[in-house]
Amino acid sequence: MKKLNIDFAKLGPLIGLVFIIILLSFLNDNFFTVNNILNLLRQISINALIAFGMTFVILTAGIDLSVGSLLALGSALTAGMMASGMDPMLAIFLGLLIGLLLGAFNGIIITKGKVAPFIATLATMTIFRGATLVYTDGRPITGLSDSPIFVMMGKGYLFWIPIPVIFMIIAFVILYFVLNNTVFGRRVYAVGGNEQAATLSGIKTDSVKIWVYALTGMLSVLAGIILTSRLNSAQPTAGTMYELDAIAAVVIGGTSLMGGRGRITGTLIGALIIGVISNGLNLLNVSSFYQQIVKGAVILFAVMLDRRSN
């Protein structure tokens, strides 16, 4: 009986996803087509990239509310560098580095400044958004590079797969490996599972946390650059509320907000569930107002299911 529950808890999100897909396939003929599925995957790739980072953060019993603002700031700076004629590759590299550093800044405030993650990133969320607005003067940055590499990032295809999806898959494979097969991954779980025990086991918990926030910062900016490429402009309000979708994906995927427990595979499934629902409801012509209600209900349902099986 107990065994059954545990398996169900692991498989729960996947079963939910399959169920929703089957349901939508019956409700709308256009849902389960190659085109729509590829489109859907591209839609979720941005949220998935951020949510992968968020998974690490939440596994350490933290939270990062600043990801949306960081996405906006990182992509505005990258776009600004490109617009000023910098080599796009260099601009992208510097943009990602800025994401890494700003993420690390979050981590340093949390560990060295001893500010609770919720408060620290709530503050930086506002600061990063403000900085974006200052930098862009509240206007989109356009006139970006037409270098194929930059354009491909958001709009390109490899064979028939959208490039953003490729980024998502590569990030997933690498991060899955890091979490499950490296010493760093073990430490992430240990820090979230029991920070005192982790410290006493010789783990530098502060540095683990700083790296986790830095990773999330970099992934957010990567997502931002992909978005910029798709839109061919950097929007100062880009990424608003993205933190909530990312947290939702992590939570639907069964990762505990208390830390120490969870899987990145779950997060991928969580991001898919959110994506499938909005895509499906769009196809069914459900107004976006109602969509929000459905999305909220799904999050509640998933979390309550998870509670019961624990």
Binding site: V183, F184, R186, Y189, A197, S201, G202
Partner: protein, 504 residues
Amino acid sequence: MSEHYFVQMSKINKSFSGVHVLKDIDFHVKRGEVHALMGENGAGKSTLIKILCGIYSRDTGTVKVKEEEVTFTNPKDAEIKGINIIHQELNIIPELTVSQNMFLGKELTYGKFGVLNKNKMRQATLDSLQELGVTNIDPDELAGDLSVGQQQMIEIARALATQSELIVMDEPTAALTDREIEALFKVIYSLRDKGVSIIYVSHRMEEIFQICDRITVLRDGEYVGTTIVKETTFDETVRMMVGRELGERFPTRHAEIKEKVLEIDNLSLTDRFSNISFHVKAGEILGIAGLMGAGRTEVLETLFGYRKKTAGTVKLHGKDLVIKHPLDAIRAGIAFVTEDRKDKGLVLNGSIRENIALTNTKAISNSGVVSKVKERKLVQDLMEKLHVRSAGMHQEVNSLSGGNQQKVVIAKWIGIQPKVLLLDEPTRGVDIGAKKEIYSIMNELSELGVAIIMISSELPEVLGVSDRIIVMHEGTITGELQSDEADQEKIMTAATGRVKYEEA
């Protein structure tokens, strides 16, 4: 006859995740008696008491209070029947004042709308403390600013303030000074004379023979018997508790004591302890005795780099050692089995494998990538070596028994092949079988030349296991004894700070 009994617990059974911790226990307490509940750690005393107080539910068996069968589902039910418990772990909220703590959950109010009658509570607090002979506690003081002993007195006063017919006292004297103990005993006598029953849980034989009327002994979750104090002896009680002669409790040691390994010189931590100096040699087991709150754990935590020392030096093999983080200590070959395995020793959600791997990442990885093969082998070997009983290395440590959890903690540290092993209450909450296994492991390690420092609050353990014993009292070392010249009395004298023994 049975109307004399206040509580009758009969044929009580209880299991936790498949481990049968109480087997057909009978426990009857008369009105107006002081009844000792004895047994080694892990014998099932606290489980039995938690069932009586409604914290756990029983699997089978009956509980009668005043001849009426009852089933408590929470502590409130038990309180209504007049049963109160004074916990061993303090239930004091440090941020609240003494009188707020005293009336927590049963605040006195004006009328029905929850407006607090602070004056009345303050006065009642003063009265209860007075009754205990305590005059140095202000009801408006923050509980967190009091000494551990004073906090314990508040716990006791709290139980007395409510109309109790039965009070369970779980190790009430562990943190008290002699004067406080005397006052407590006076209160116990007067309660008994008023017809209140008292269940007294303690490891201190002298106290039990001084104030108790009867003794019930449990061993390994089984009922051994009930004796009348006037008709029994220390030795008989110990035999009942241990089930065999004391001599077998601690395996014989053969280790050869060699050179000094670790030297601590004038280690200090403001407000916790000062000028702590001692050394430990290869193959030696150094016991650290003392009362709760004497600063023993803090010394080891500081030595290990978990707390920041304010002064002092640590030398390993004669060389100065700079330890700023536990990682530095581990790299130098020091391992630390912490006192509180749930808070500080284990990642409870994690599997046995993850927990053991945590300290052994070097051995099982190549440039940061974990080799699952090496990991499995290391974990398997350590689990076999320590006889960890489990459903496999993937089992969550949450669901292991106390003894097996402790073995996992020890396993994760033995994996690093330490030169110095720090053990803080290594057998607390561990059953007798696992205890003996832990002693054997300590012996094996010391025979391999590991220097061991062990904190223990159980005097027989300190005496039975150590080669040398230092005693701490309020943050200083008040005694050092060779084990052959040490006895319980000498240790207790030093632990209460009365006499300073010099090394022989």
